[in-house]
Symmetry: C2
Subunit: 328 residues, 2 copies
Amino acid sequence: MAFRLFIRIFLLAYLLASAPARSLELAGYLPSWRDTPAKLALLEFVTKVTDVEGDFFVPPERRIAVFDNDGTLWSEEPWPVPLEFVFYRIRKLSPEHPDWANEQPYKAVLANDTEWLRLNGRGAFRQLSAVAQAGISTDQYEGLVQEFLANARHPGTGLRYADMAYVPMLELIKLLQAREFEVYVVSGGDLDFIRAYAPLVYGVARANIIGSHPAYKLDVTANDVQVLRQSETGSVNVGGYKVVNIHVHIGQPPIAAFGNSDGDLQMLRYATSGDGLSLAAILDHDDGQREFAVSSGSARLAEEAKGRRWLRISMKHDFDSIYRVSGQ
Amino acid sequence: MAFRLFIRIFLLAYLLASAPARSLELAGYLPSWRDTPAKLALLEFVTKVTDVEGDFFVPPERRIAVFDNDGTLWSEEPWPVPLEFVFYRIRKLSPEHPDWANEQPYKAVLANDTEWLRLNGRGAFRQLSAVAQAGISTDQYEGLVQEFLANARHPGTGLRYADMAYVPMLELIKLLQAREFEVYVVSGGDLDFIRAYAPLVYGVARANIIGSHPAYKLDVTANDVQVLRQSETGSVNVGGYKVVNIHVHIGQPPIAAFGNSDGDLQMLRYATSGDGLSLAAILDHDDGQREFAVSSGSARLAEEAKGRRWLRISMKHDFDSIYRVSGQ
């Protein structure tokens, strides 16, 4: 193992030192990555699929890359950010609802009772979500999300959430886009939530966000057509549904996929099921010092990743810096 | 009315004669259009929203144009082409099913009994569709559609269906794309069907097709992930659903929309509901000589189009030629 690692680092040094301008230019896109085998694998992949004279060339119209969002492009600890938004909204609305102080699940949010919230899970979250964000137009909802992102701060780092996007992953998106990849975010999180910040923070266009979403209803008046968010679920974008929605939205399999949990397993498989060169990677949250040390997916995901030689990216070892700015 | 027409034609002549190179270049994109007020309206719109110094400038990332498919980009008479495909498949499969000769709805297809088919409508079509195209992968399905498009010919013109795309509309798509519009096809027809030919025939990418589709199921094997088409309906993309799906896929309202039936009404409204300059147009099938003389939508659509000053494009008066090649 140590020998293979040595070989790969040697190859990276070789690539960086002896390669022509193109590879050096590629490496220049990833300044927040350390010179590790993971970085080498990413550079090798991009170099090969864009080398028109090589055996692994993929034409631009087939260069599709998909990224999971929560836990892959930004933190999902201690709670996924869309849930933090729901808590924020409940706190904002609480002055109009004095009864909430004694009524669950509101009480737990207002008292910051994380234990109760973890125990009561999905049911509580669904009720809170409905109160916090249903019945308004998607435009109004985006405005609320932007207000949240401008003001709220992560309980651990004290950073604004948009500043907690992982800079190395943003650099990777930029590198892929510069090499004519069409980059999509494919998330179990809320579509309208991600659209409120992804164009600015990730550099990914609104049309390239695929997410879960509530049932929508039209509000048609004489001079306006608005899309309203309902409290019922419309589409859930996890697991196999990620693949189906990639088909519906993009119409072809990705050749590169990045995730961090079992909800990404089918998407990672889909990306690596074609004939040509492809890349699937799992981001490991193994940095208890700078972020969180939590397991990325189940033993099943780990086994499949090993069997299929998917890349594992270690936040601890492969990321030189994580955030754009430092926390408090 | 005649005077207003004269004024507009005069304006067009003026625009074409006196305008700087840019407008002439724009007009050059529409060689199959006659110099009528409709052409003028289209050129004026594109000129205004792309004029960075003018009052109506729209930045490229907001230049979204949506086109209905059947009846707007190609013929839907005597049957929508996806239905002709189903009939074609039934005829192809019939040697394996000798009983079909005496069993409806197959019998009607094999005997070309259009009267029976029109009388028995949706139920029959659903049954035929299920037999013709369910349970196969989307890749297999696209292969079958391409085989159909390469071989089948329209019963009236004798042309291949791909040659029955309306050339003036294709020129319009090209003009919009050249002016940094993102062009989408938003159709009640089958998503996978349109993807089988739209990139080549329309120049619209796979990811820019929004259509109806069956329920999908994944077929995951050790080395492959395939998306299978089921016989159940998955998503129906007509009327208000066109608006919801534009939100889900694109994430912002179009500023230009083109349709030809009541199923496009909400989409046309949505395109013209914003604050900036926008354009909605209805294609009139009023050319019994060169195509078909059928009404484009109900009295309600006509009234709304009039009240909102939507553009009406006349195939008879505004199209100089219709198809890329001549029929038999």
